[in-house]
Amino acid sequence: MTRLMRAGLVALMLAPALAPAWAWAGEGEGMPQLNFANSLTGSQVVWLAIIFAIFYVLLSRVALPQVAQVLEQRSATIAGDLEAARGAKEQADLAVQELTLATRKAHADAQAAIAAAVAEAKAEAARHAVQLNQTLEAQLAAAEQQITAARGTAMAALRDVATETASAMVQRLASVAAPRETVDLAVGAVLAGRG
């Protein structure tokens, strides 16, 4: 029954391709595939089972694990390399960060040093100026004192000169010798009047 059904289905599917074959095949054995009188038709299936079983066992036990191992190894290698690269990048990033920090710190240090130097220089200059001022003031004061002293001396000398001049003028004009004390008093009064 199954054989008939199978043959029918096969004939139906192969009709277009086999039309000439059926016509010309003549009175041979028909399709060798369906010639079950040939013991080889059945025995090849037994050998197929043996061959396929060995094939399957060799594939699943030896050949395919070999491929799987290599594929795994490769993905592991790639993953490891990626991991290493990621680590290196992290380290580089860290180094860059450190460098940036160091640069910034150095910059700040330099800035501070400059500011300190400037401040010191300014303080120095200020101190210098104060000192200079003091010296100048002291000199000024000394000069003023000298001037005052000179003036006092000159003023004291002026009375003598004026007294003598007045005595001399009185001598010439009135031909009298005026007493020195009187002239001196008169000059003193005039000088006091002039301020």
Partner: protein, 252 residues
């Protein structure tokens, strides 16, 4: 040759004979079995020599082996799900056994074992037995609910259940006949057109040589088409196996 008899012996190429001389005769080792051994050995050798160097950056043969591995592995995981990894070696064996069988069958004088319904039928039965076993193992008797779509009216049970059972049983039938018919048809076409060339030359002499260019061109185009079919049918067989396994693992 067939031309001498002026008939086209398109089916003679599928005739089973014993291989390996006297030893093969004594154990009924057919010429198709020789090609099975060749196909299996080619796959195993390609994998072995390809992966021998275990290079991180693969060479050609290793890339081929890895692409084949990834291709079937992805197919299993995509079609079946995470559980598909367990069936990966089986699907891999099935796909490459059929693919290499189809491809080496395209060489002249090489026997195409996938053109035999007994072979494709056995492979299909293997698939369906595995699928049923997996389903029974995972779901136990609950597996039989597969033949009963959820929410269907009970009145229709006598109609639906037989249909579902027939569709389940027809899986290996369609699986085996699809591969067998495709390979047989392609090889019959080769034989028909090639013999037609000889007949033209035999009948028409010098003029026949000119006319024979027609079937020659057709056969060249056919060869390209058959290479495509070889890949396609192996792929279809493997994908359908995966889909059936998905049904077995997940039920619907």
């Amino acid at each position: 040759m067939a031309a001498e008899k002026s008939t086209i012996d398109a089916l003679g190429q599928f005739h089973l004979d014993t291989g390996l001389g006297a030893i093969g005769r004594s154990v009924n080792f057919a010429n198709s079995n020789v090609m099975m051994v060749v196909a299996a050995a080619l796959v195993l050798l390609a994998l072995h020599y390809g992966m021998r160097r275990r290079a991180v950056v693969p060479g050609r043969l290793q890339a081929l082996a890895e692409i084949g591995y990834q291709f079937i592995h992805d197919m299993c995981v995509e079609q079946i799900g995470e559980e598909g990894k367990r069936f990966f070696p089986f699907v891999f064996a099935l796909f490459f056994f059929i693919l290499i069988g189809n491809l080496i069958g395209l060489f002249p004088y090489f026997f195409t074992f996938t053109s035999h319904i007994a072979v494709t039928g056995a492979l299909a039965v293997l698939v369906i037995v595995l699928v049923t076993a997996v389903a029974l193992r995972i779901h136990g008797l609950h597996f039989f609910s597969y033949f009963w779509p959820e929410g269907a009216p009970v009145v229709l049970a006598p109609l639906i259940v037989p249909i579902e059972i027939i569709s389940y049983i027809s899986r290996p039938v369609s699986l085996s006949i699809r591969l067998f018919a495709n390979m047989t048809a392609g090889h019959v076409m080769f034989e028909v057109f090639a013999t037609f060339m000889l007949m033209l030359v035999g009948a028409l002499g010098a003029f026949g040589y000119v006319l024979a260019l027609g079937p020659l061109v057709i056969n060249i185009a056919l060869m390209g088409f058959e290479v495509l079919v070889a890949f396609l049918q192996a792929y279809v067989f493997a994908v359908l196996t995966c889909i059936y396994l998905h049904d077995a693992v997940h039920l619907h």
